[in-house]
Amino acid sequence: MTSGQPAPEERRRLNEWLLTAPSLLWLAVLVLVPTAIVFVIAFKPPDIDGGIGAGWTVATLRSLARSSYARIAWRTLYLSFLTTAGCMLLAVPTGYFIARVDRAWRQSLLLLVVIPFWTSFLIRIFAWKVLLHPDGPVKAALAWLGLVPPNAGLLYNAGAVLLVMIYTSLPFAILPVYAAAEKLDYTLVEAARDLGATPLGAFFRVFVPGISRGLVAATLLVFIPSLGSYIIPDLVGSPSSEMLGNVIAQRVFVERNLPHASALAAVLTVAVLAPMLAVLLLRRNGEVGAAQSRGPL
């Protein structure tokens, strides 16, 4: 290093830019710009070849006010909500259990939870198609037990969609809950018991608040992708259980109406941003654990 070196402050600034620029630019160009384009195209008319026409219009957006869209949007919301609730109900005891079990078992259990995630997403959904098929084993077992009438359809309805959505989202709920539960100091729970709390009381007063950061992460990781579900309702759902994702895909591939798809995607984007902004604001107010790590989430 010669005396012609820039001052250390400047060198530090330069190093920061060198390290930050590649990923920053990439994501700005391939995530921010495309998202902006989605909002822009929502204001354009379609052209007959399935492309984007010239000029601007609000007709596309206005057509979104149709009641059928409202129904679909509502269904998307409440199916995602149910999925999230279902996942959390299952993930909290599971995450707790794995965090409390002997270290030797922990790794194996985590692996068992994660391995299905390593297999193809489509294939897992396909497997449920087979399972829930009218001639399939699950239906046969349930009918034999008398739980469902013999001609019931387990497949191609909202129930099937919900089930499979929970199935595919569950690992994303278990892992953050486990991670938070593993870091928790359990002497706090014991202290609560010592001070007179019942097991359930200790659970709600100490354990749940203690893993709140994990709970929030799990909720986001399940709810937000669920809003955009497309394949699951496509493969195991029916026209009466369509979600926003389906409709967007339809507009793109079947009807070739890109501006329409764009408009719907814009709505979905706003719906996705809302919970994230809420969490961000809560975090800034110190409610959900101050920013401890400088990394994402």
């Binding site: 998202t35 692996l111 390593w118 997403f121 489509l122």
Partner: protein, 256 residues
């Protein structure tokens, strides 16, 4: 809470829930029945059929090519991102961090359609390149997340020690930082590879007519019949996955 068996029961139920469909698939891959709903005898017929399906092997080869290229790029971008986020804490990094989080929570369909529109807007034809660009975009954040996790536990005094002993920044990075970070980078790369191989929705949106990856082929197989072949293919993929996981576990434990 120590006495309650409830968490244990739920965990067991969850694990059964996870593996039930997979079990069905594996069993059915040996099932002579066309539809797999009833058992009709043991056969390896579907596996044999698989070996003759050229479409599937072409799709697999293409998928792997895409995976290797996109993994390489996303590892580089993700690692530099993680290093930047770890080392610096300026306002730029806060924006950077937020930006990195976006692909992690963005629904795939949004990413798919936005990239489709983007490529249309800049006049880039859909094909191999657009798929690779898309794959790098969503993998990058995962790699950054994994590497950042390793960096947070990294003993910075090691880097100071290297500088103290006379090493310049580049030497320190090369001989101290990267060797110790390598397992984390490898883990990130493995994750990126998996995500790329398995991706359907985004790929479906940005792949051109001639770019059929394995997931796309599987999707059309599901929509248009031939379920037994899928069973056999799935079982094979499962086997490969198990092997890969077992291998990475062995590597991980050997390092420690």
């Amino acid at each position: 809470m120590r006495r309650s068996r409830f968490p244990l029961l739920v965990t067991v139920a969850v694990l059964l829930f996870f593996y039930l469909p997979i079990l069905v698939l594996v069993v059915n891959s040996f099932n002579a029945s066309r539809f797999g709903t009833t058992w009709q005898g043991w056969t390896l017929h579907w596996y044999a059929r698989l070996t003759t399906e050229r479409d599937i092997w072409d799709a697999l080869r293409l998928t792997l090519e895409i995976a290797f290229v996109s993994t390489a790029a996303s590892v580089v971008l993700g690692t530099t991102a993680a290093l930047a986020l770890h080392r610096f804490s300026s306002r730029v990094q806060r924006f950077h961090s937020a930006l990195i989080s976006v692909p992690l929570v963005m629904p795939e369909i949004l990413m798919g359609i936005s990239l489709l529109l983007f490529f249309a807007a800049i006049g880039l034809d859909l094909g191999l390149l657009t798929v690779i660009l898309a794959h790098v975009t969503f993998s990058l954040s995962y790699v950054a997340l994994v590497v950042l996790g390793r960096l947070e536990g990294f003993d910075d005094s090691l880097l100071e020690a290297a500088r103290d002993l006379g090493a310049g920044r580049w030497y320190t990075a090369r001989r101290v930082l990267l060797p110790l970070l390598a397992p984390g980078i490898a883990a990130g790369g493995l994750l990126a590879f998996t995500l790329s191989v398995d991706d359907f929705v985004i790929t479906f949106f940005v792949a051109g007519p001639g770019t059929t990856t394995l997931p796309i082929r599987i999707y059309s197989m599901i929509k248009h019949g031939s379920p037994p072949l899928i069973n056999a293919l799935s079982t094979l993929l499962l086997l490969v996955t198990f092997l890969a996981v077992w291998l990475s576990q062995r590597l991980a434990t050997r390092r420690t």
